[in-house]
Assembly symmetry: C2
Homo-oligomer: 232 residues x 2
């Protein structure tokens, strides 16, 4: 994306670096205003003004407020991946890796908790491009699913081979459920969300292990089938 | 509620009936305006004006817009229970009863689909009393959980006795998941939600039956424990 959106001239790298700086400044100003005034009440004009750039310049980098939020999603996902890295290098059990990756997501999202609530109000609109299920959110969604694939591939846990290709997406769905819970969580430091993760991980771990039992094969098939129905 | 909110005078029942009529008129007018203009943009003043009653009178029956939505929840839950009645009288299997009750919920909610999206936008605010998990929504929530209890108690399916007392609430949570999906469902006639119900019911049915297996006992315990953690 940076390649297409930052102008390259004879000045070359210097311009690119400056462009990246302006882009970053606009993004950070927007996040601050969204937090302070709410998403709906913040205009692109106000963002440009506060950042000290021309409105046209702001639109050059982000063609809509939605695009700013998409960028926020992308950056959060990148921070999440970076925060998950030491966990994935250290932990070898599926439960350890999953718990670490989920807690890392909450770690990086904590400063944005109030902001998340105000975005969620907009993302909850059925046709919103800000929904994590929208085509527009496909980049960070796929990157996030890939992270859950890594949780599995680096672990010692054996998984039913029929379930394996679908499990990263199922884990991502569970993660979305946890994020939904976190948005609503008013407990100090979102302690309830931490408790939810600590309770849900051993449960998921056990279910994944049990998925290899013959008696549970039909359950796996039904889940995979249901996922297929809902995707098309 | 009606006892406290409708004035009783010497005229007795006539006044009560007239009060109930006014209450009904205000509620129906509000629902229409919420649908036409959106929840946020509709004021109590506008509702009173359209209903042809004094603003003070409107506030007498409903002390806030939220109260009007709570009333809408209560009525929808009552309609749901009425629509589920023939199913519960006819079906004896757990799967048949559960599918019937879930489809009945969609049947009665279909006319409110657009309206539900606009309410959801407000209910998605973490501290909103309109959330189905809020103390304010406890009446319709408990009534709905009781309906799922009836789905179980009238069925021929045997359930793990340790799971049984928690199952109505778990089914209600699954139902809330389906409602969330339905709010976002833009397919014609919400056909995808119907497909979700038809796919999820056999899966839930199988899991409930399997809950009696010894190997799955620890899973049940973990679920019950997790539910307990999240409630407190």
């Amino acid at each position: 994306m940076t390649d297409q959106s930052v102008p390259t001239t004879a000045a070359g790298e210097a311009t690119t670096a400056r462009g990246e700086q302006t882009r970053q400044l606009i993004l950070e100003t927007a996040m601050r205003l969204f937090r302070e005034r709410g998403y709906a009440r913040t205009t692109m004009r106000a963002i440009a003004q506060e950042a000290g750039v021309a409105v046209g310049n702001a639109y050059y980098y982000f063609d809509s407020k939605e695009r700013l939020i998409q960028e926020f999603y992308t950056r959060t996902e990148e921070e999440h991946r970076a925060a998950a890295r030491p966990v994935l290098e250290r932990e070898t059990t599926f439960a350890g890796r999953l718990a670490g990756v989920l807690h890392a997501a909450i770690d990086v999202s904590t400063p944005s908790h109030d902001f998340a609530a105000s975005v969620f109000k907009v993302a909850a609109e059925p046709t919103s491009p800000l929904s994590p299920f929208s085509p527009e959110s496909s980049g960070p969604r796929q990157a996030s699913i890939a992270l859950f694939d890594e949780v599995l591939s680096g672990s010692t846990t054996k998984v039913d081979p029929e379930l394996r290709p679908h499990l990263p997406e199922l884990l991502w769905l569970a993660y979305m459920g946890i994020v939904l819970y976190w948005v609503y969580d008013r407990s100090p430091g979102q302690a309830r969300t931490r408790a939810l993760i600590d309770g849900a991980v051993p449960l998921i771990d056990r279910l994944v292990s049990l998925s290899r039992l013959r008696v549970l094969r039909p359950v796996t098939r039904q889940i995979v089938e249901l996922l297929r129905t809902l995707r098309h």
